[in-house]
C-alpha cells in the first residue's frame, strides 16, 4: 500500500479521479494514491506538482493554481485514526514547494513558496501563509489571517479580495495558454 511499492511497479496504479473538463493539468504532474482525487473546473496543475491521496482523499475547488514541486495530501501514514481529507476551496494558490496537509484551505488563500500547512489545520478565507511559514497541525486560522516573517501574523483589512480573485482568474487564463493539458492521462 505504500507509495514506494507502487512506484516500483512498472505502470503506476492511477488513483480514482473526478476531473472537470476545463481543468488544466500538465503531463508531468503526479497523482498518486488510492483514494479519490477531485479537481474542479479552471484549476491549473503545474508539471511536477505532487498530489498524493494515499492516506486521505483530496478535493481541489475551481480556479486554483497548484505550482511545481508542491505537495498536496497527507504525506505519511497517520498515527491512529483516519486522516482528515484535504479540501482546497476555490481560487487558492499553492506556490512552489509548499506542503499542504490541512483539512480545509479557505477560498482565495495563498500558500507561499515552501510554506507548510500541517495536518488537520483549517485556514479561513483569503488567508496568506508567507514564504517558509508554517501552520501547526490542527491550527485554526480565522479569515484574512496573514502569516509572515518569523511567526508574525496579522489580519488583513485591505478589502481587496475581490480584486485578488479576479487576478487569479486572469492568471489561470494565461496559464491555460502556456501549459498543455493532458486530462486523458489521469482519467
Amino acid at each position: 500500500m505504500s507509495s514506494k511499492r507502487a512506484s516500483m511497479m512498472p505502470p503506476a496504479p492511477k488513483p480514482p479521479t473526478s476531473l472537470s473538463s476545463s481543468l488544466v493539468i500538465a503531463e508531468h504532474a503526479s497523482l498518486t494514491g488510492t483514494k479519490l482525487i477531485t479537481l474542479g473546473s479552471n484549476t491549473v496543475i503545474h508539471p511536477r506538482s505532487k498530489l498524493s491521496s494515499a492516506y486521505a482523499p483530496i478535493t481541489i475547488g475551481n480556479s486554483c493554481i497548484i505550482s511545481e514541486r508542491s505537495q498536496i495530501g497527507i504525506q505519511n501514514e497517520p498515527d491512529e485514526e483516519e486522516a482528515d481529507p484535504v479540501v482546497i476551496e476555490d481560487g487558492v494558490i499553492i506556490e512552489v514547494g509548499a506542503v499542504v496537509e490541512g483539512k480545509r484551505i479557505g477560498e482565495g488563500s495563498v500558500i507561499e513558496v515552501n510554506a507548510k500547512v500541517g495536518r488537520g489545520a483549517v485556514l479561513g478565507k483569503h488567508c496568506k501563509i508567507g514564504p517558509l511559514c508554517e501552520v501547526a497541525e490542527g491550527e485554526v486560522l480565522p479569515d484574512y489571517t496573514v502569516l509572515f516573517g518569523n511567526g508574525m501574523r496579522r489580519i488583513d483589512n485591505s478589502g481587496v479580495e475581490d480584486l485578488k480573485m479576479k487576478m487569479v482568474a486572469r492568471q489561470v487564463e494565461v496559464l491555460r495558454k502556456l501549459i498543455p493539458s493532458k486530462i486523458a492521462k489521469f482519467q
Binding site: V146, G149, M152, R154, N157, S158, V160, K166, R170
Partner: protein, 578 residues
C-alpha cells in the same frame, strides 16, 4: 561547541600614535621601551585597533596602514536604494534624507511597497496599453498591508511622496506648510484687530474651509511647524530690530544674533541689557494654533476601548514605531508608509595627509572604484591552518600538548619582501600559552605574472616544492621555511596551549593570575598570539618624482628601501576546558 575559524587581525598604528608615547624625557629610554612593549590583544583598547586585513586601507603617501578610524569620509552621492535615483545634496538639505519619489517601506514589516490600482485591470483588446485608473494604493507583497487599511488612497500612481504628504491617515487632507502659515497669519490678523492680548476663538465666516479650533488635533508635522512659528514669533517680539535693521528670523545665523555675539567682544552691553529687559515677555504656547497639544481624557478612553475591543494585535511594536517618524503612533492604524532612507557613496581620505584612499564611481549604478588603495594590495596576507590535520571530532586545543600551525604569507607586491616575525614567548593574559615561530625570518617572492614565472624557472620551482612535499612527514625544522611558492611562503609556529586551570600552587601562577583568580571569562579560552611583523622591500622611487621632466627614466633605476612594521593577532583556536 561551535567550530572555531582561525583568524588574523591587523593592528592599525593610529592608536599607537594617539598614545603619549614619548613621555620619557630621556632620549635612549623610549626607543628601547617601545621595542620591548608587547601588544596585548586582550587589552580593552585593542578592540578598537584590530581589523581584518580586508577592512584596512594603505596610504601610499604616508606608507602606513589606515583603518576606518583614521580615514575621513566624504559623501560623493546620495541615492535612493529602491529606485537608484541620485539625489542632489541641495535637495537632501532642503527636503531631508528620504526618497521623495514613490519609494516606501511597509510600516508593518519593512518590505518595499508597490503601487497598485484598486480598479479591476482593463480587459479586452489591447488592454496591456490601456492606462490603469485610480484610485491607487500602496500595498505590501509580503504581509499584504495596504494603505487602504489606514484610509489612504492616491489619485495618481506616481509622485506618491507628495500625495502622501497631503493626506492624514483616514483620508483627511493635511495643510501644507504654506497653507498653515497663511492660516496662522489670518488668525493673527483677525485677533490683532479685535484685541491685542486676547486670543479668543473667533469663527471665521468668510473662509469655511478651516475652522481654527484651539483644541484641534494636529499631526506631528503641523504641530512642529506651528510650534516653530510660534517660537520664532516670540523671539522676534522679544528682540528688537537689530543694529542692521533686521527683525523676524532670530536663528543663530541671523545678522541680529551675529551682531549680538560681536557685541560681547566689543563690550557694548547696551544691546544685551535690552534683550534681558525684554526676555520677560516671552511666554509658552497656549493652543493648537501655537503648537500646544493637550491630551484629553476622552482620547485616552478611546485608546483604552480600542485596546479592549481589538486587542494586542492592533498595537504597533516598538520597532515599528522606531522606523516611523512619529513615535506616538500607538496603533497599527496610525502608522504610515515609511519613505526609503537615502544611502550614500563615500570616498575616504587619509586623516594625516588628506590623500584619497578610496573613491567610488559617482554614478549610482556602477560599483567600480576610481581609487581604491586597500591594504590587501600592499601587505602580505596571513592565513592559518593546523599542520596536522585534526582527525578527531573536537577541534579544541588540548592543554599542554604542542600543536603546530602553518602560517602562509602571501605577497601582493611586485617586489619580493623580507619578512621578520617576532612573538612573545608566552601569550599575554592569565592563561599564557607558549609560542615559538620556527622560522622567524624569510623572504617572500614577488607577485609577478604567474606565466612569466612558469616560463622562466617554473620547472625548477616546481621540483623544489615537490621534493619537499614528497619527503612527506618531514619534521618542521627550526630556521627553515616549510613550503614556498611563487609569491607565498609557509612557516611553522608551535603553540603549547596553557591549561585553563584556575588556582593551583602559587609558584606556577603568573602575575595576572595572582591578581585575578575569578572564573573563566568570555572568550578567555581562545588562544590569541600577538605577532610583530616587519616587512622590508625595495621599491621603485615614489611616483611623483619619476613623473617630473626627463629625469623619469633615470630615476626608475633608483630603488627605494621601504619598511613597514605592525602588530597582528593570530587567533589559532579554543583551548579545551579541564
Amino acid at each position: 561547541m561551535s567550530s572555531f575559524t582561525p583568524y588574523t587581525y591587523f593592528q592599525c598604528p593610529c592608536t599607537e600614535a594617539s598614545l603619549p608615547n614619548h613621555r620619557n624625557p630621556s632620549q635612549e629610554e623610549p626607543s628601547s621601551s617601545d621595542d620591548d612593549r608587547t601588544f596585548d590583544p586582550r587589552a580593552p583598547r585593542a578592540n578598537y585597533s584590530l581589523y581584518p586585513l580586508e577592512h584596512l586601507f594603505y596610504c601610499e603617501d604616508c606608507h602606513q596602514i589606515r583603518c576606518p578610524r583614521c580615514v575621513l569620509d566624504e559623501i560623493v552621492t546620495w541615492y535612493c536604494p529602491n529606485c537608484l535615483f541620485e539625489v542632489p545634496s541641495s535637495s537632501v538639505k532642503a527636503e531631508g534624507n528620504r526618497c521623495t519619489r514613490s519609494c516606501f517601506q511597509c510600516p508593518v514589516c519593512i518590505a518595499p511597497l508597490s503601487v497598485s490600482s484598486l480598479e479591476a485591470p482593463p480587459t479586452g483588446l489591447g488592454y496591456e496599453y490601456a492606462p490603469q485608473n485610480g484610485p491607487f494604493v500602496l500595498n505590501c507583497g509580503y504581509c499584504s498591508w495596504s494603505s487602504k487599511e489606514t484610509g489612504i488612497e492616491f489619485e495618481k500612481p506616481n509622485g506618491i511622496f507628495a500625495q502622501l504628504a497631503r493626506v492624514k491617515n483616514g483620508g483627511e487632507p493635511i495643510l501644507t506648510a504654506k497653507e498653515r502659515k497663511k492660516d496662522r497669519e489670518r488668525k493673527r490678523d483677525f485677533s490683532g484687530t479685535s484685541a491685542e492680548k486676547e486670543r479668543e476663538e473667533t469663527p471665521e465666516v468668510e473662509i469655511p474651509r478651516e475652522p481654527l479650533d484651539p483644541n484641534e488635533k494636529l499631526d506631528p508635522e503641523s504641530q512642529f511647524s506651528n510650534l516653530k512659528a510660534f517660537y520664532q514669533g516670540q523671539l522676534a517680539e522679544a528682540s528688537p530690530a537689530s543694529a542692521l535693521g533686521f527683525t523676524g528670523d532670530y536663528g543663530y545665523g541671523s545678522p541680529g544674533a551675529l551682531s549680538r555675539i560681536m557685541g560681547l567682544y566689543t563690550g557694548s552691553t547696551a544691546f544685551d541689557k535690552k534683550v534681558k529687559a525684554k526676555a520677560g515677555t516671552m511666554r509658552e504656547a497656549q493652543d493648537a494654533l501655537e503648537g500646544l497639544q493637550l491630551t484629553t481624557i476622552s482620547e485616552e478612553e478611546e485608546a483604552l476601548t480600542k485596546l479592549r475591543t481589538e486587542g494586542w494585535h492592533c498595537t504597533s511594536s516598538a520597532s515599528q514605531r522606531a522606523e516611523f517618524l512619529n513615535t506616538n503612533a500607538q496603533f497599527i492604524t496610525e502608522l504610515r508608509p515609511v519613505a526609503y532612507l537615502l544611502r550614500t557613496k563615500r570616498s575616504k581620505r587619509c586623516r594625516t595627509c588628506r590623500h584619497i584612499l578610496s573613491k567610488p564611481e559617482s554614478k549610482v549604478s556602477t560599483i567600480r572604484f576610481r581609487i581604491r588603495l586597500v591594504a590587501l594590495n600592499y601587505i602580505p596576507s596571513i592565513s592559518i591552518k593546523p599542520l596536522q590535520p585534526t582527525s578527531s571530532a573536537s577541534s579544541l586545543l588540548q592543554p599542554m600538548r604542542p600543536v603546530q600551525f602553518l602560517l602562509t604569507f602571501k605577497n601582493p607586491l611586485f617586489d619580493s619582501v623580507k619578512v621578520t616575525l617576532a612573538t612573545p614567548t608566552k601569550t599575554p593574559g592569565r592563561f599564557a600559552s607558549k609560542v615559538t615561530v620556527l622560522c622567524p625570518q624569510f623572504e617572500v617572492g614577488a607577485n609577478t605574472d604567474a606565466w612569466d614565472e612558469a616560463l622562466r624557472e617554473g620547472t625548477g620551482e616546481k621540483r623544489r616544492t615537490k621534493a619537499e612535499a614528497s619527503e612527506g612527514q618531514h619534521q618542521a625544522e627550526a630556521g627553515k621555511v616549510w613550503e614556498r611558492g611563487r609569491n607565498w611562503v609557509s612557516v611553522v609556529v608551535e603553540v603549547v596551549p596553557a591549561s585553563l586551570h584556575i588556582g593551583g600552587p602559587e609558584f606556577l601562577k603568573n602575575e595576572e593570575m595572582k591578581d585575578d583568580e575569578g572564573p573563566l571569562k568570555e572568550d578567555e579560552d581562545v588562544c590569541e598570539i600577538p605577532v610583530f611583523v616587519r616587512v622590508e622591500w625595495e621599491a621603485d622611487a615614489a611616483h611623483d618624482e619619476s613623473g617630473l621632466g626627463g629625469g623619469g627614466s633615470k630615476e626608475k633605476d633608483v630603488r627605494e628601501k621601504r619598511e613597514l612594521a605592525y602588530w597582528c593577532v593570530l587567533g589559532v583556536g579554543r583551548i579545551a576546558k579541564v
